[in-house]
Amino acid sequence: MNLVLRGAAIAAVLHITPAVVLVKRPDAVRALLPGADAYVAREVHLSDPDAHRLHELVDWSPDDGVLTFYNGKAGATVVGALTFARVDTPHGPVEVAVGFTPQGAVRGVIVTKATVETKPWVLEAVGAGLVERYRGLKPGDVPAGAAVLAEHAGKLAVYIAGEVDKGVARALAAYGVFHNHVRA
């Protein structure tokens, strides 16, 4: 019986909590593509060699082989682009929206999804200024939000910041290599 109870306790601890939406996608789009009134979804279907190239860069490539960017325009003026990147953590998925300026620098990062378990860690990390650390990064830069937070945030907030770093790194690599370098 003791073994059964221990097993149940371990399984309960490991159980993934459901995903929760922290910021709705339309709100993230409005915030990261400010003023845009027209949007185009740009789906980049990766060949095997390109998927491999991306994997070598950031130890990840999309499961379905498709990178999706959303380009925003205000009239004839390009406002920028954004992409959503998901990171699967042992505590469930975390999704980040990464917006880029027309010059290719990060305009902003919004954590759009977490789980019931990770939400407080995300909120603490964001409250400690995590997403501001990514502003201005360009493809080739290495996001280091977790390292910066290490001195003034809790361990779990620093941990989840590391996962957000991964999402931002994936978005940077995908944007840098494939957003403008493949013709429609």
Partner: protein, 183 residues
Amino acid sequence: MLYDLGRADLRIKWLVTCLLATLGISYVFGALMVSLYAGFTPERVAATYAGHAMSMPMPPETTMVKEHPMSMLEFAKPEVHEVDTDLLIQDTHVHVPMYGLIAAALALVVAGLSLSQRWALGIITLLFSAPWLDFAGMWLTKFVSARFAAVTLIGGWAMGLGYLAVTALAIHQMWFRSRGVNR
């Protein structure tokens, strides 16, 4: 047989009843979770586990781009909850041990019921094979064919059926079948 729930001490009967009630609550909320994230039709289960992979199984020879306009309404559309390979590995790793413990707990209840050996073995097999079918269906849907979504649905319903059968038999034998013993 020494272990007979129908003749068991009141405390054991109450323990088993509470266990079954607790599992029942978790099954109800499990079903609600499924309705929120995957659904109860083969189409929705296939969309959850097969995702884009089934609609574009082969990567193109050279990277290609498709563009289409998006409205803000489309951003607001409810998303299909897609489970990719990494998440399915994680789900399998987390859920299968838990399902095994639940099946074991229910099988222990079955072992204490007055049933023919054939029926008891059949129900125990059902309790364990239902989660196997559930997860086998998910993996087959992802990597073989969207048609295997039906296997996941069969597994899910079989889990519910197994639970209901054990609960009905246990409650009946523990609390409603008179055997001339103290309740």
